[in-house]
């Protein structure tokens, strides 16, 4: 599957900005399931972006200026090819072997970053009691499938009910949220069950009627012992396939925020985003 992705952000400041630095984590990555073919960027302040790799090795555009401005617009166009896969096409280890790996010290040390509770993925004791638990007879994959459905049913999709600071705990209390909240909720339960899991940001194929295709989307990758990282999208109760274009992963939203900036101004900002993804003919 080939996609053309356009990411656009407009930031209008009520007061002049004297100095600014922006980091944009929006470029599709290249890995075993997708290849970035082409990209191009433009911005309204006419500074050339530099590209650098973040902690997890993903490319970030950085733009800095010391010239005054009132509007910062950034537009990226990228083309990416995604391999077609059947997400069910793999062989699981027997549950007891999976369990032995999950419980081994070396596995926990190698994957500790995705097992560690963060501000977003920490659960209160009362929420811990209510969440599903991996029982002995179940394979990790089947448990994660159930978890995907559980999160999907437990949370109602509702924009503006949460913000970028909402934690998994709060999402379980509220029972509603957006893709980022579904992802944090999924991650918090998976980690509680000692299954390494990471937050993923990216884009969705708009032709499939999936929730989240008008914005940057968020989903989860969980590590299945003996198999590898598998993508789960609790917002849509689906497994990740060729309809998903990955940008980056991290321990939680904070590692994947599409735009971060430090801006010297006395005024306020109004921000707009636009994401357009179109499927291209091969």
């Amino acid at each position: 599957m080939r996609y053309k992705v356009i990411y656009n952000t407009d930031n209008h400041y009520t007061d002049v900005v004297r100095e600014a630095i922006y980091d944009l984590l929006v470029l599709p990555t290249t890995d075993e399931s997708q290849t970035l073919l082409f990209y191009n960027t433009e911005n309204s302040i006419k500074e050339k972006p530099t590209l650098y790799k973040n902690t997890f090795g993903f490319d970030v555009f950085r733009i800095r200026t010391a010239k005054p401005f009132e509007t910062f617009s950034f537009r990226m166009e990228a083309e990416v090819a995604v391999k077609e896969v059947n997400p069910f096409d793999f062989i699981s280890l027997p549950p007891e072997e999976e369990r032995a790996i999950l419980n081994s010290e070396a596995f926990k040390i190698d994957n500790f970053l995705f097992l560690k509770r963060t501000r977003y993925t920490h659960l209160s004791d009362s929420n811990k009691k209510k969440i599903p638990n991996l029982d002995k007879s179940k394979s990790v994959f089947n448990f994660l499938l159930e978890l995907n459905r559980y999160i999907n049913e437990r949370i109602d999709y509702c924009t503006l009910s949460t913000d970028v600071y909402t934690t998994a705990d709060q999402v379980f209390e509220l029972g509603k949220g957006v893709c980022q909240d579904y992802a944090h909720a999924f991650i918090s339960v998976a980690r509680e069950n000692q299954i390494p899991s990471r937050y993923v940001s990216g884009y969705l194929n708009p032709g499939e009627g999936l929730i989240g295709s008008l914005f940057m989307h968020a989903w989860v990758e969980a590590l299945i012992p003996g198999v590898g990282w598998k993508g789960f999208d609790p917002t849509n109760n689906l497994l990740v396939d060729e309809n998903y274009v990955k940008v980056a992963h991290g321990v939680d939203y904070n590692d994947c925020a599409p735009i971060k900036g430090v801006v010297k101004t006395n005024g306020k900002v109004e921000t707009q985003y636009l994401v357009q993804v179109s499927q291209e003919q091969q």
Binding site: I21, T55, V60, R64, I109, K116
Partner: protein, 465 residues
């Protein structure tokens, strides 16, 4: 300073004679000179607990502490050994994690530490060093042996007082000072600069070094200005620098100037608002990416705090054996880790003899001194330990050695407890233990607390040539 018969030890005789010949009035006059000298030099510290920042003179005691060459030689060997192992440990836990996989240290103790900094994973700091400037606190126990009390590996303060104490001493008591062959401390700033240059990013021949301060409200601001001034480098705040094209620049009246090495006295979490606390104004936005790209050196490296936590401290002797295949030269204070069955049982049976500390608290919070606690307090505390054994360590009560110190109220020299903060610079093929240190004195009778913020003072520390 006294031997078993109560006479001054050989190396203290001249000092003791000198002071014994002096009348009380003569001494008081000398003491006043000293205070004025500190005032003129501007050697002060700020006490945070006051509502408004109040700068004070750091109380200074004229009676020097003398360390013989033989004693010092061992301390120095021990410090270098310790820092070498700690640097290897820091590299290991941000790369292969061998020491954790080999079960020498419990992995969760390290990886769950709030100071474990994920931005440092797989990052190669220029020069290969993590903790370049360390301040290791040492005490002498009643058994005559030196023990390491604490490793300060992030941003240890106090070296400016060592240098100011010395210059005051030379001014006020020249006749006694020059009777001794005292090792010089005055080249510390130049050695610090040489160390900073040794860890400059690769390919930079004439590195530009700066001192990064959080600003005038920081308690150690005096020291930041002192070091920058004496090294002849710029003292900067975060707002004086910016990152462009993954390089760090400072703003000067001649335009931007590239910065290669930053001796930062700003905490990790304030270094880069794009990565850590977004609301922080003390750091430089974008600096972590420039660091990861190898374009700038940060001294000390972020994430070193994981190696100076109280529980990790307990494992430093094991680190020395693991990485260096050597026995530790300096002792640790024996530490019982409640998470270990045997230690736990010992702690439960011997609470009265021990000081029990939570591993993740600082400032003395949550500490129980067994000998001073009631039965109920001990029982309550035992339950706390049972509920979360990983959180507690215990140590026997150490008796800090005492040293004659002039006490203004009594107008006499009286014994007071002391410790020693040492300073070690560690760069690329570069090791410099400062021959001296900050001897801190508990000015209150019987007190074991030597911290300046709690009414402690200091002494000039003479290491014999």
């Amino acid at each position: 300073m006294f031997n078993r018969t109560g006479k001054p030890k050989k190396h203290y005789q001249k000092v003791a004679n000198f002071f014994s010949k002096m009348s009380k009035d003569e001494f008081l006059e000398l003491n006043n000179h000293t205070k004025i000298s500190f005032m003129y030099q501007g050697v002060t510290f700020t006490v945070y607990s006051e509502k408004e920042g109040i700068e004070r003179i750091f109380p200074f005691d004229l009676f020097p502490r003398i360390i013989t060459q033989r004693e010092w030689e061992k301390i120095e060997r021990g410090l270098v050994q310790r820092i070498t192992a700690l640097n290897l440990f820091l590299h290991d836990i941000y790369h292969d994690k061998k020491i954790l996989k080999d079960r020498v240290i419990p992995y969760d103790l390290v990886l769950e530490s709030p100071h474990y900094n994920k931005e440092m994973i797989n990052l190669e700091p220029p020069g290969g060093v993590y903790t370049h400037v360390s301040g290791i606190d040492i005490i002498r126990h009643k058994d005559g042996e030196f023990y390491v009390l604490e490793d300060n590996l992030r941003s240890p303060s106090g070296v400016s007082y060592v240098l100011s104490n010395r210059s005051t001493m030379k001014k006020v008591l020249p006749n006694i000072f020059f009777h001794y062959e005292v090792s010089s401390v005055s080249d510390y700033p130049q050695q610090l600069l040489a160390m900073l240059k040794s860890v400059a990013p690769e390919g930079v021949d004439e590195p530009t070094c700066v001192v990064l301060t959080p600003g005038i409200y920081n308690s150690a601001y005096y020291e930041h200005t002192f070091l920058a001034h004496n090294m002849g480098v710029e003292l900067v705040e975060g707002r004086d620098m910016f990152v462009d094209n993954n390089f760090v620049y400072m703003k000067t009246i001649y335009g931007p100037q590239k910065v290669d090495v930053i001796y930062r006295r700003v905490d990790d979490s304030f270094l880069d608002p794009l990565v850590f606390k977004p609301e922080s104004l003390l750091g430089v936005p974008g600096i972590m990416a420039a660091y990861r790209a190898g374009n700038v050196t940060i001294v000390n490296a972020p994430g070193t705090g994981v190696a100076d936590d109280k529980a990790i401290y307990a494992y430093v002797p094991q680190m020395i054996r693991y990485y260096l295949k050597e026995e530790p030269v300096l002792n640790n204070v024996p530490t019982y880790i409640c998470d270990i069955e045997e230690d736990f049982n010992y702690v439960m049976d011997n609470m009265e003899k021990l000081v029990i500390k939570p591993v993740d608290e600082s400032g003395g919070y949550g500490i129980l001194i067994g000998a001073m606690a009631t039965k109920e307090e001990i029982e309550t505390y035992k339950n706390k330990i049972r509920r979360n054994r990983r959180k507690y360590i215990a140590q026997p009560i150490m008796t800090l050695s005492t040293h004659p110190t002039f006490i203004e109220e009594s107008g006499k020299f009286e014994p007071r407890h002391i410790d020693l903060r040492t300073f070690l610079l560690y760069g690329k093929d570069f090791k410099y233990p400062l021959k001296g240190g900050l001897t801190r004195v508990a000015l209150k009778k019987g007190s074991l607390i030597v911290n300046s913020s709690q009414g402690g003072g200091s002494k000039d520390t003479w290491v014999m040539e």
